[in-house]
């Protein structure tokens, strides 16, 4: 390890490096043991209680689909972490990076193994958040932060839609367990459209289907191992996993068929064309990933057994070659300081092993025999040609994307490595062995599986059965006979060669089209965010305006309107005003109180207002006296006196009222005041019309003397029966007094700002 730079080389990045390689490797080997059982058609289930009160369990389920994903995640994971130990191992942030990467790996594994949809969602969000942290790994670069946030917001929003879909399907099917939902027929359920749309919103954002594709190329701001792992082989395939997983339940409807085939086909072709446009090879690969995701979506949507078979095979094929290519460009970047297709050339002499990996992976991508990529493409073509509906669309988009992939294979593997040696920022050297292991193994697997296609069958067969919903015969082979698919492949090669030869002119042409094109998703995203922030600011200004009076207005208006509405709903407006038996002195009290209240509200002198306030208080005391409550009346009189005295004292230091402001009648305020006043009067009248429940009073009257030895029932209630309330009341008064004391004492000089 002589070439790890000037820093002291830590072998495999120290303990973080060792552990991060060992964990996925052990898991990979552990998962390998399940292959025979799963290939024989078994499924394994394991469950523990999580929130028993809500009937939520953490349950895991291993079938062909989840095993395929688990092997890809752990296998590629082990190679990527080994690569990272070399690539980033000397950096101080490396342990943090490994933490994020491990969190992601656990999330991803949980996602594909979870049987409970709620548990699946939690893992889904773990991948979203860890992906955010990984894309933003170079946190001191604004571009990195923006890309990370964009990915988080796009996939996070989709995730929320997905959660809503989970809740709906949980209620529709009566279970959150995927293994149980599969057995429920939901296609005629009234919610099926909503469920499908919400699930697809989650899947399309996660797997970057058009029109949510723009975040994925930006996510390439992450270090290369992250791009290789998350944004080609695993995370973006979570959406594909979800669609594949739900295919037996949600598939087969027109909505499902057309949204997947149209979005998938369009994304595949659109992304392949954009891949031709790029000159940064990492960006080229990013767009080819979009193409692969589009193709997978297209064929899962197509839904025939042949299409699912093709999709599952292509899933494995793509993960192998794409991870290899990403890791390869990382080595090239590391050793030459450039990723530009125009700069790199003739590197095979200096970097033979890197070139070998690149060529093998690119051959698989281009679909050339005898690599597994060829078989993958053949089976996709066969499936497309045998489609009962939309045959032309599916075949056409698959053909266009494959031809463009052929050309892209040339751009990433031929141009940089063959021809005259280019002038790169750093003198090219072969990469270190720890970084070469990954791409070589992955690219070599592409060849090995192509030659021994039986090996791939053991995974593709159970995976297809899991996605299709019933067992499907899978027989993979390189060549059997000359058929339409093979002829289409030959046409693909011819078209691909033409495209590759003209790719530089094509790129220039695409660039000029791009400059003319008015639609920019990426810039549109910025505008959307700006608009969203402006909207948030606008509504905050409207709602949080900081004007006390308007807050109070809203509270009272809400109270008045809702109370009036509730009364109207129950038809309780029919109250009778009954003035029989009302004596003159009663009317006098009414006038007393009413006049006092109005004067308080309209007086433009403080003294008048305070005096009127006193009048109201005395009026209320009179009512207490009239209805047998002398104790209450005495207290009321004392308190009213105190109120007047205190206000009068305070007024010595307070300014006069502004008569002009009081004369202004605030129309809306008056309206709300009348509404609240009327409603309270009617509510009171309605409640007084109900028969009185005297049980408590009877109890107090009966026990007051025999048990509490008090003849004044009110006092006994206060100091005995409800003594704790009285204690609370005293505490309130104490606290108010302390608060007032602190306020009036003021801030000592010097502390004042």
């Amino acid at each position: 390890m002589a070439d790890t730079g000037p820093q002291v080389p830590r072998l495999f990045g120290g303990p973080s490096g060792w552990i991060s390689v060992a964990v996925p490797l052990v898991l990979f080997i552990w998962f390998l043991q399940f292959i025979p059982a799963i290939a024989a058609g078994e499924t394994l289930r394991w469950s523990i209680e999580w929130v028993p009160s809500l009937d939520v369990a953490i349950s895991f389920w291993l079938d062909g689909l989840s095993l395929t994903f688990a092997l890809l995640i752990t296998g590629i994971g082990a190679l990527v972490t080994l690569y990272s130990a070399q690539y980033l191992g000397t950096q101080p942030q490396y342990p943090r990076f490994i933490l994020f990467l491990m969190a992601f790996m656990i999330g991803m594994l949980g996602l594909v193994l979870a049987d409970n949809l709620l548990a699946l969602f939690v893992f889904w969000e773990v991948t979203t958040i860890s992906s955010y942290l990984l894309i933003g790994y170079l946190a001191d670069e604004a571009k990195s932060r923006r890309s990370a946030l964009q990915a988080l917001l796009v996939t996070g929003t989709g995730g929320l839609a997905f959660l809503a879909g989970i809740v709906l399907i949980g209620f529709a099917a009566g279970s959150f367990e995927l293994s149980e939902i599969r057995d429920v027929e939901l296609r005629d359920h009234p919610w099926i459209v909503a469920i499908s749309i919400l699930f697809l919103a989650g899947a399309f954002t996660k797997s970057a289907q058009f029109p949510f594709h723009f975040w994925l190329p930006n996510a390439m701001a992450a270090p290369t191992p992250v791009s290789a792992y998350l944004h080609s082989a695993t995370m973006v395939k979570a959406g594909i996993y979800l669609m594949a997983r739900m295919n037996p339940t949600l598939g087969g409807t027109d909505l499902w068929f057309w949204s997947l085939t149209i979005a998938g086909g369009f994304t595949a072709v659109f992304a392949s064309i954009l891949a031709m446009r790029q000159s940064d090879i990492k960006q080229v690969l990013a767009y080819t990933t979009l193409m692969a995701l589009g193709t997978l979506t297209l064929f899962i949507g197509a839904g025939t057994s042949a299409a699912i078979k093709g999709a599952m095979l292509f899933l494995i094929v793509h993960s192998l070659y794409k991870a290899a290519l990403f890791l390869m460009i990382g080595i090239v970047d590391h050793r030459t300081g450039s990723r530009e297709a125009e700069v790199l050339s003739g590197l095979s002499r200096k970097m033979p092993l890197t070139a070998l990996a690149a060529v093998l992976a690119a051959l698989s991508m281009a679909g050339i025999p005898p690599l597994i990529g060829f078989i993958g493409k053949e089976f996709l073509y066969k499936a497309a040609l045998s489609m009962p509906t939309a045959q032309l669309w599916i075949t056409g988009t698959a053909f266009a994307a494959s031809a463009l992939m052929f050309a892209v294979g040339g751009i990433v593997a031929l141009r940089p490595f063959f021809g005259k040696l280019g002038d790169t920022p750093k003198a090219p050297r072969e990469g270190p062995i720890a970084m070469l292991v990954g791409p070589l193994i992955l690219a070599g697997l592409g060849l090995a599986l192509g030659v021994n296609s039986d090996w791939a069958e053991t995974l593709v067969r159970p995976a297809t059965a899991a996605v299709y919903g019933s067992p499907v015969a899978v027989d993979l082979y390189l060549y059997k006979e000359v058929n339409a698919a093979l002829i289409l492949s030959l046409v693909t090669f011819a078209t691909g060669i033409v495209l590759y030869l003209g790719h530089r002119r094509l790129r220039a042409r695409l660039a000029s089209i791009e400059s003319w094109n008015p639609i920019h998703f990426d810039r549109g995203w910025d505008r959307f965010l700006d608009g969203f922030a402006a909207f948030a600011k606008w509504q905050a200004q409207k709602l949080q305006h900081g004007v006390l009076r308007r807050y109070i207005f809203v509270i009272f208006a809400f109270l008045g309107v809702t109370a009036a509405y509730a009364m109207w709903l129950r038809d309780a407006w029919q109250v009778q005003f009954d003035f029989t038996g009302v004596a003159f002195r009663d009317w006098a009290v009414l006038i007393f109180i009413t006049a006092g209240a109005f004067v308080t509200a309209t007086a433009n002198s403080r003294m008048t207002a305070v005096a009127a306030l006193g009048v109201v208080g005395i009026g209320v005391a009179l009512i207490f006296i009239m209805f047998g409550a002398p104790d209450v009346a005495i207290t009321q009189l004392l308190v009213e006196t105190l109120v007047v005295v205190l206000v009068a004292l305070a007024m010595l230091k307070l300014p006069y009222l502004n008569p002009k402001k009081i004369a202004e009648i605030r129309g809306w305020d008056a309206l709300v005041a009348i509404l609240v006043g009327t409603t309270s009067a009617i509510v009171l009248l309605a409640s007084m019309a109900e028969p009185l429940d005297r049980r408590l009073t009877d109890y107090f009257e009966l026990t007051s003397w025999p048990e509490a030895y008090g003849r004044n029932v009110v006092n006994v209630i206060l100091v005995d029966f409800r003594a704790l309330d009285t204690f609370g009341e005293i505490a309130v008064v104490m606290i108010a007094a302390l608060g007032a004391f602190v306020l009036l004492r003021g801030t000592p000089k010097g502390e004042e700002k």
Partner: protein
């Protein structure tokens, strides 16, 4: 008589709500006092309006018959005192606010939620 009390409560609530929405916080306090009066009256009336016999047990008797409902009276007593505590604290707060801010106009008390720039500009141009 119930109708009469209901009207009084309605009037008290309406005037207090109107006062509480005033700019001047001293008038807000007046509204607060009126509102607590209205609340006390409501509790009292909701317990049933009975003739003027107070709930007192005569010497020698074990219980009282036909007296006013004791329960709402006890509740109102508590409410009056708590209402007074609230009033006293609010008044001290108003007093202190005036000392510190030099105004009783609630619209000008904007320390916790300062004005937005656009708002300030609009006000300046309108002046």
């Amino acid at each position: 008589m119930e109708s009469l009390i209901a009207i009084m409560v309605g009037v008290l609530v309406a005037t207090s709500v109107y006062l509480m929405m005033a700019r001047n916080v001293l008038r807000f306090i007046f509204g607060l006092v009126l509102l607590s009066n209205a609340a006390n009256l409501t509790i009292f009336a909701a317990g049933g309006l009975t003739p003027e016999t107070p709930p007192l047990i005569a010497e020698g008797a074990d219980t009282v018959v036909g007296a006013a409902n004791a329960l709402p009276q006890a509740l109102v007593l508590t409410a009056i005192v708590i209402g007074f505590g609230l009033f006293a604290f609010a008044l001290a707060l108003v007093y202190r606010t005036y000392q510190n801010l030099g105004t009783l106009n609630a619209d000008e008390m904007r320390i916790a939620e300062p004005r937005f720039e656009s708002e300030t500009k609009a006000e300046e141009t309108s002046k």
